[in-house]
């Protein structure tokens, strides 16, 4: 277990370094954004003096390196700056949408992960059967289409034609808990179909590969019953690569959130990101990008650690 702890520590360090580099990247790109921030805050009627004062206040006249340093310092203290559009600390602005997005994301994962794993295992065990082919086709469709197409089609079927579910979500029009949950169904489905598909395919592929392996054959020839072979011999090896996909899907979800929230009008962090970009709200933009990158990187770390814990060969120096 000691080597595992060391592994985790090493990767955490790498994560910090990566995040630092990512923050540089984000900062660089956002600095290139056209448009004068001071004018946007004070409006077109502002006098040149007021603009200059504001610029000094915000530190916009300092060289880029200094600005970056101040920003980074702020981040490390938990201060993500002031939103230029909302005139409130970014941290305050982000909290509610972040919570809403988390609900959506967690619901999505709660649906996609177990369903994907179960379907993947089932299809691998019944390879090339009708069930397998049907599921494989379905997942290919789901994996290929962008979330707004899946979402759009879902809305047309379930809202327009069948009228069972509402076409918008999270806008506050839900008065009961049941209504709140109902309006989440379509966005969660749109978000998680893609991920379910990827997980199912990876699981099926790795389980199939393991089923064909020499050690599973050897285990069967020991006279062990099938359930034992699947649980103790097949799954540990097959879960490793699938864990990576699960972690990566957290990253994909970040992109998916932007689209699904825009489609359903859901006030989450994705919609806020589009808003921030449109309005050149640089501090907000930087903060959201950093949060997304951090979540993504942590997810990857979790996948690596999990894979190492499951498969003793990975990363060992034997």
């Amino acid at each position: 277990m000691n080597s595992l702890a060391r592994f985790v520590a090493q990767r955490l360090m790498l994560l910090v370094l990566t995040l630092f580099a990512v923050s540089v990247l984000i900062f660089t790109i956002t600095q290139l954004l056209p448009g004068d921030v001071a004018t946007m805050i004070l409006g077109m009627q502002a006098t040149p003096q007021d603009l200059a004062t504001l610029r000094t206040q915000l530190g916009l006249d300092q060289p880029a390196l200094v600005q970056f340093g101040r920003w980074l310092g702020g981040v490390l203290h938990g201060d993500l700056g002031m939103s230029t559009r909302f005139h409130r600390p970014v941290v305050e602005v982000l909290a509610p949408p972040l919570e809403k997005s988390l609900i959506l994301a967690l619901a999505g994962m709660a649906f996609a992960v177990p369903a994907g794993l179960a379907l993947g295992l089932l299809c691998a065990l019944r390879r090339d059967s009708l069930l397998d082919m049907a599921v494989s086709s379905a997942t290919m469709f789901a994996a290929a289409m962008p979330e707004f197409v899946t979402g759009g089609l879902l809305i047309i079927v379930f809202s327009t034609w069948l009228g069972w579910l509402p076409p918008f979500a999270g806008t506050g029009s839900a008065s009961t808990v049941l209504q709140s949950i109902t309006e989440l169904i379509l966005p969660v489905l749109a978000l998680s179909f893609v991920i379910l598909a990827y997980i199912q395919r990876m699981m099926r592929a790795s389980v199939s590969e393991v089923l064909d392996s020499a050690f599973v054959k050897a285990a069967l020839l020991k006279g062990l019953d099938r359930r034992r072979v699947i649980v103790a011999h097949v799954l540990p090896g097959a879960l490793g690569p699938t864990l990576s996909v699960i972690a990566l899907s957290i990253g994909w979800m970040a992109g998916g959130l932007v689209i699904v929230e825009s489609l359903f009008g859901y006030p989450g962090i994705g919609r806020m990101l589009v808003f921030a970009i449109r309005n050149r709200d640089v501090p907000l933009l930087q903060a959201i990008s950093l949060v997304v990158a951090a979540v993504y990187a942590l997810a990857n770390l979790a996948a690596d650690v999990g894979q190492r814990a499951l498969d003793p060969r990975v990363g060992s120096s034997a």
């Binding site: 064909d212 392996s213 020499a214 050690f215 599973v216 054959k217 050897a218 285990a219 069967l220 020839l221 020991k222 006279g223 062990l224 019953d225 034992r228 103790a232 011999h233 540990p236 090896g237 499951l310 498969d311 003793p312 060969r313 060992s316 120096s317 034997a318």
Partner: protein, 602 residues
Amino acid sequence: MALLEVAHLNVGYASVRGSVRAVRDVSFSLDRDEVLGVVGESGSGKSTLAHALMGYRMRGTSMLEGDVTFDGIPLLRSPATELRKIWGGRIAMVHQNPLASLTPTMRVGEQIAETIRQHRNATAAEARSAVAACLRAVELPEGSDIARRYPHQLSGGQRQRITIAIALALEPDLMILDEPTTNLDATTEAVILDLLEDIRSRTRMAMVYISHNLGVIARVATRVAVMYAGEIVETGSVSQIYTAPVHSYTRALLESLPRPGNSKPKAAVLSGEPVLAAMSIRKSFGRRRATVRAVRGVSLHVPRGAVVGLVGESGSGKSTLLRCIAGLERPESGTIQYSGSDLPPNLADRGKDMLRTMQMVFQDPESTLNPSLSIGTSLRRHLIALKATDGVTARRSVDEALRRVRLDTAFRGRLPRELSGGEKQRVAIARAFLSAPDLVLCDEPLSSLDVSVQAAVCRLLLDLQRDYGTSYVFVSHDLAIVRYMSDRIVVMYLGEVVEEGDAESFDRRPLHPYTEALFSATPIPDPEAATARVRLKSQISDADRERPGCIFNARCHRRKGAECSEIAPPWRDTGGRRYRCHWSPAELAAQQGNEAASAARG
């Protein structure tokens, strides 16, 4: 009634090319205490046969006909529940390649325990003590350490013992062994074979032992069946097969093996400047604490026109040394003189004229040729790079090169995947000789070829060597081939040379204890041959490299005393040979003489 009765067994697969019959009309019977050795090369159907004997349908099987009756039970017609009771419990299989057939994510002790729990309904405690007994039975050191390890943390020999332990756990009536020692070093293989013999005499188990190695079969089997293209072409007792083979395939198989005392006509070793003189080559791998000193101060002389055989087991450094000479690896220190001038260690620093005179043949025929290029293109590229010939001459030279290695010029347009392993290796040899080099480095060129093909390629190499007067450095772990081919032999162990000299003098008697062990471990396809049984304790361990004293100290069966673990042994010269040992030649001769005498008496 025989324990195992096989009648008209046929197994077929459906593939794109139609159905393929892997096992054709096989019949035989087997009793307790008998060992049936099944000899066959890759493609003979022996693995399919092994699985069919258990009643197991491999994936893709389209046809499984005939009868396999075990102790009265018809295996091919039994339901899965019955088969599961028999598998592991009454018939057990020892698989090829233990690294692939042990579950990598499960501790090895647990892999033994689960069989016991499954078949005997044992409790955890009962299973644990049974596992300990199994480990003892295969001579693995007791204690929870090994049982708690994962397969990749064990050595090859240890893994093989574990697979045997799993098979033995429930004391089956029949054990089927599919190439159990193929991936092991000769010295480890010898020990495992001893263990199997021991187990068999104790338990009276019946065994089906499958191997492509005739020498091994001669050692373990009581009866032999020779398989070719799915059929059993000949059966008989061991001595029958080896002394009076009937079928032409059996005869060809036996003839293709080099036997001791039967070697090529030795060239008179030319005196004069050696074509290659490597001095004190050192090469290590890895970083800081995990450094492995692969080659530790080795010097090598290759006389002009001679074949120098470099023999050793895994970890000996022989391949690394070869690659340092070739320029594919950079030695940390040491110099190489090539035909009198200094050879730059960096491949990029060597001029075309130097590259032209030294070429290499690699071990794996599957990766020796670029799979996306035709044979002609590969050869032409190599030729033009080395000799800057024009298109027309190049084409003629390529045709000549193919003819030289006895391949039809039509091969020019073929892709590597259309060639067999032997043919690919011939092309590789043709490529090496395109520039008529003075020295060809051979890195185990025959090891990945089937036995029946090895002989032809071996002869080709020797013919070319003779015709061109080229020198070879021939690396191999197979002592028999090295003894057959070489004019000089160099024996390496864990990065050092322990013995070297003229091949002829080796034929008389090995001197260094390691060479002795290596000679006696090599299975000879002659059931009559009596060789002194030298068995090495323990395994090769990288840690031995770092200890002071003699490199072979930890495993030596002739250990002299404290000096072996403290002082580096001196070189001793005697009659065309040198070796490093604390024993003098006379002392060694006396010891070996006494042993031979007592063996004859006892």
